[in-house]
Amino acid sequence: MTRPAALGKHLARLWGLVLLAGVVSLAWQLRDGLPSDTRLTALLPQDRQNPLLERADARLGRAFEDRFVLLLDAPALPRATADLAERLSAADGGRLLTRLDWRDVDFADSDPAAVLGPYRYRLLTPSLRQAIEQDGGTSLVQPALARLFSPGGDPEPVADPFGLLDRWLAQQDDSPVSSWQGLLTVRDRDGTRRSLLIGRLADTPYAPSAQQALTRALRAFEAAHPDARLLHSGLIFHAAGGARQARHEITTIGLGAFLALIVILLAVFRSPRTLLALLLPLAGGLLVATPLTLALFGRLHLLTLAFGASLIGVAIDYALHLQCERAVQGRRFHLRPLLPGLALGLVSSLAAYLALALAPMPGLRQMALFAAAGLAGAWLTGVLWLPRLALPVHPATARIAARWWSLTTPRRTLAPGWLAVAALILLGVTAGRLTADDSLRLLNPSSSARLAEERRVQSLLGRDTGSRYFLVTADDEPALLERLAELGQRLDTASADGLTIGYRNLADHVPPPRIQDANLAAVRRLYGEPLATLVERAGLPGSVIAKARATLDSVPRLDVATWLDAPAGTADRRLWLGPVTADDGTTRLAATLVLNGVDSAAEGRRLAALADARPDVCYVDRVARLSRLLGELRRHVSLWVGLALALLTAGLVLRYRRQAWRVVTPALGALLGTLAVYAVAGVPLNVFSQLGMLLVLGIGLDAGIFSAEHARRPATWLAVSLSTLTSVLAFGLLAFSATPALHYLGLTCLIGLTLVGLLVPWVRPAPPRIKERPHGEPCPAR
């Protein structure tokens, strides 16, 4: 045995051990499932993240995850609503929901006075406080008397002779939901009345069984009431839509691409064993990349996983080159002549991905590390193992290679000058017209129709989406409530001045201690002369006065915890962030003030200015913030890839001298072509199309390098064609996905990889004269 052969054997064994270690550590890391992360902000550097903002976002976003809302418009509304409620309650054998509110009595199941009663003397509506300030409360005697003698009232002459708590509670209830014929209903501006059903799921909204049970119940209802119209809102509808879409796409796009791939590879290599061997490098790549990334980052971001899976396209390249060469060369196959090309291909792709690792964004770093480790693993598996595997070689492969070569070799080659002109024109088109889009829609797989319906329901219910808010912090609870109350006043002033927004403020429900004390003082005034007058005119026993006054002796202050525990306060829980640790290690309290109806950028600027003017108040526009992050991510990707490209080109010029243009044209031409197509078609560029371009770059460079290294070899061209085709099938077809992120990744791959395939024959070194030979004979070596 020669020394290099023995070395190869040792290395292959060693590599086997490395992969085994990968399997073991991966099994250990995945013992509790894959630690994954979907937060977009997790892709950002630590110092750019604001943990408090993250918490506020999560709190406001997650509050209603397990709930859904249906608005029903039907001719016989009470009957149709009852039928729908019955179907929902019975869904999945009654296991779908833990609760369904649809009757007006469903909302009145607990007496708010029971919890808030002791605090009532510190809670006054502004109009009551004003009335007491004006005349000591004399004007309140008459309404209190009427209340006492009205048949409808529930007077409490001792506890609350003036009905303060009722007034206060009535003011807290600002919902547009009203009761009508025993139903909960809302009306839109046209006067259409819809009944409201609020369900709480027993399971998570992502559970397929829950999604199916709900969908079935709603379908059956719609079939029974053809003229009923439903509006849906809730995560479960989006999740169900997304799951349906994913299932549909997996069965059409995914399965179709997979079958086509198998058919093509089988047609070329005619051996299932070869097919499996081609997948070996991919497995090797994943076994290196996943444990390494998990070990370094702790968790895998879903974007990394999505993009990492696209390694398939590049990783399989090496195996294809080896196998095509082997099929064509037969017994004369040696690895050595292929190594420079393979190595250069790896280095160029590694350079492109590692450039990303230099970007100051942990998310990109993770993606880059995953891709680079995966590629290296795949390359080593391919080079060390594949040649040692005894794989059947079918003569058809060589025949196909020869015919494909003669079929696709153009009679002329392109002059670099023409290419330069074309490139300049494309560059001009791109620079002039290309736009970018960083909107969050890219991350949202829901259809725009469903999103519009969601917004409609939210606005009919007068709810905010929690996407715009003020984040307020303070050292203690009184200061925080004070700050919130002051902010509320500013907003009221701005509203009076033409700012058309609404808001929900914790301090409206839990007034700051200063105001609670002032309220109590006002109530003490009211319980002076006015109370005596009331008791006398009502003909109540005089002892009532002393008893009523005694209730004011020790009135507790309403604090946030008590309010949030009260039935009326549960809706405010999402506004309360509680104790947070600030940068300097001190503990502070934080709460949000959620805005709605902010429709214009001008309104947003006004609100931001309001926050900027005061310390510890910060205006957050969640959508704009995340869009900005997406944009930042996109710009970083293009910057670093551009740099890598420039360096690579310089490196390639060193090796190939005047022929370097042949190497870079497929990759650069495909990128430029794709950009120009987008520019002309008006498709904006986004971070996902850029990730697709990275893939095009990797495969394009490989194609260029192999074509230049092994010019005039049909085997190389076959390998390049197969690698391009498999990638187009694996990723290009994602262009037909309805999920925006996948669609853009796929579209870029589809256009870019097609261009790579088209460009290679035109720029590879001049074709050799192919002598007429009997079919099946290997092509002449260089």
Partner: protein, 187 residues
Amino acid sequence: MRLFVLLMLGLLSSPALAFDLADLQHRLGDTQGLSGRFVQTRHLADLDTDLESRGHFTYQRGKRVVWALEQPVEDRQVFTPADARAADDAPGDTGDDRRRRQIAALLLNLLDGDWQALERRFSLTLSGDATAWQVALAPRQAALRERLAEVTLAGGRYVERLRLETADGDTLTVRFSDLQPLAGSDP
């Protein structure tokens, strides 16, 4: 508890000649208007005191209900269908307005003969005969039972007495007299 005035007013308009609720419900739509006087006694158990008030009322089907207190305080409440319609169209108004409108909405449901709305909250039992009948209403929801023990209505041609007992022992009794169908409204 404000529900019960509505309930009471709703039943006022029912000529109680029939003995099942379906019939009662059917008849409910017949009376176009009614007027009369009332005496209301509220017994406050913890103070062992009675609050007594008197006044008059008129009800015109589809137009309005007027509940006029005369003694010891003058107060007049008018509920119209417009109030009911406005009930959910004015999110910005004050709590009192809003509650009033909700009362109006419920009230008119009752007056328009929506017994289903009542049955959702109470189980109804009818006893006696056409000249002296009694309806007992027992709250269905536990939350309502915590506040309200029992409601009874009694009457002959029209409702003559309503009694309402809360869980804490207070009672509200309303006696009606001089009941007259409004001119031109009875067949």
